[in-house]
Amino acid sequence: MISFKNVVKEYPNGFNALNGVTMAIPENEFVYLIGPSGAGKSTILRLIFMEEQVTSGEIIIDKYVLGHLNDAQVPFYRRNIGMIFQDYKLLPRRTVYENVAFALHVMHVPSKKIKQQVSYALDLVGLSGKSSHYPRELSGGEQQKICIARAIVNQPSILLCDEPTGNLDPETSWEIVHLLTKINAHNTTVIMATHDTEIVDGIPKRVIAVNKGKLARDQVLGTYIE
């Protein structure tokens, strides 16, 4: 359960990216987060991921009231949330396998279990054949899939995706979104910020539209344009 109550986010330079957002997203939902550039989509994801703190209002994620978490608790909170990035954020000097395993090392998972979980995640994204490759040897779509594998390798309850298809051709974009719906079907809440009209209209899901830091529309099985 994700719940925003009157969330305001003012960046240090004084810019108000969110001006009172209230919404609730139940478990296992798939949500498209849409809106024009600068609307505040990434800001919403960054707040959920605790890369940023709210200025006022309250965010509750499952059993966590985010404002009450201290610095030492943040890493543990984050382990319940997967995040995939438009620029992938893979480690260039590490292989595909190591990039995914990295997320588990960080949590002190024992070696044997790491092997199991990494091969499961790589299988899911269809890249187990490339586990010893380096990121630069992969296409953009493949790198995005590795990023997804890393985000879900420890089976988080929420997956945040910031324009996961932003840099990809239509065919690869469809692959990625199908992958995300598959992950969603395995009991993971997925929130996907996107500008991709075709996808939003092609695989109808709940649509939350933001504009100028406010909720503009919230529609079950919505479309990109109202």
């Binding site: 030492a72 890493p75 543990f76 984050r78 090392h105 960080v106 002190h108 790491i114």
Partner: protein, 295 residues
């Protein structure tokens, strides 16, 4: 922490050390130089300490007498001294006997070869009841300058060695503190280079839920390795320098009780090693705490 995480740390650390190898070498060298000085000061201090203690523990005043005194006069003077309060006993040391015992004490010096005539005068050895009387008794016997050629007592020498030791300790420790600060500064910056080189990795680690402790671990190990490597080099050199120096000193001044026992040396070398490890880890901790806050 499990074995897996430790292996992961060590691998990370080696990558870090390799990436900034020149700075690492400079850091190790600085630590070595600092700790060599630390070790030398500890060794010198410990030896001076022991010498002072040794001298001071002998509650004795040695009166070297003028030549050409006859034995009867000496005995008279001896009985006069013995009557004084605070003096336990006065022993007459015949110069022939003294020379023989000196030769047998230091037989390895082959004194006979170089010195044919007995160089020692007759002397009186005053044993005191306690240290507190020593000043007044010295003042008293100084009046007999027709009989006494020279007065030697441990207290005075011990005082002088002690003053020297204190001056050296103040100067030495200030210098060492400065050098430790310099080492820390260099280690902080060496590690900072690694932190910067791994900035991207660190931020990704944070994104996938790494705790600060997990992120700091490899850097602390890096600091530890720099410190211990530097300290090992200095212990090696100290061992080498001290073995040679002490050998020479024992030959030149065989009557001083220099430190040669393993226990004292292991204590000093161990202290140097632990200091190295501590300086390294402290430097790494300062560096990584500051860099991580800046992110």
């Amino acid at each position: 922490m499990n074995l897996n995480a430790i292996l992961f740390f060590i691998k990370e650390t080696l990558i870090g050390l390799k990436r900034s190898s020149l700075m690492t070498i400079i850091a190790i060298a600085t630590v070595s130089i600092t700790l060599i000085l630390l070790g030398l000061f500890m060794l010198i201090s410990a030896n001076l300490n022991k010498v002072t203690e040794d001298i001071a523990s002998k509650l004795e005043i040695r009166l070297f007498l003028k030549p050409n005194l006859n034995i009867e006069d000496i005995q008279l003077f001896r009985r006069k001294l013995k009557a004084i309060d605070g003096i336990k006993d006065v022993e007459f040391i015949n110069n022939t006997k003294a020379w023989k015992s000196f030769q047998s004490d230091y037989s390895h010096l082959n004194l006979k070869q170089y010195i044919t005539d007995n160089p020692l005068p007759h002397s009186l050895n005053i044993k005191l009841e306690g240290a507190q009387d020593i000043k007044s008794i010295i003042l008293y016997v100084k009046r007999f300058d027709t009989i006494i050629d020279d007065i030697v007592y441990g207290g005075e020498l011990a005082d002088r060695v002690e003053v020297f030791r204190r001056v050296m300790a103040i100067g030495g420790w200030s210098l060492i503190m400065l050098l430790i600060l310099a080492s820390l500064f260099i280690i902080v910056n060496t590690i900072r280079l690694t932190v910067i080189a791994r900035n991207e990795e660190i931020s990704i680690m944070q994104l996938v839920g790494a705790t600060d402790r997990f992120i700091k671990g490899p850097f602390l190990i890096e600091g530890f390795i720099i410190g211990v490597l530097g300290a090992s080099i200095s212990v090696g050199l100290l061992y080498f320098i001290y073995s040679i120096a002490i050998h020479q000193l024992i030959e030149k001044m065989p009557f001083f009780p220099f430190i040669t026992d393993d226990a004292s040396l292991i204590y000093i070398y161990g202290f140097v090693l632990i200091s190295g490890a501590t300086i390294g880890m402290l430097g790494a901790y300062i560096s990584v705490s500051r860099s991580l806050k800046m992110r």
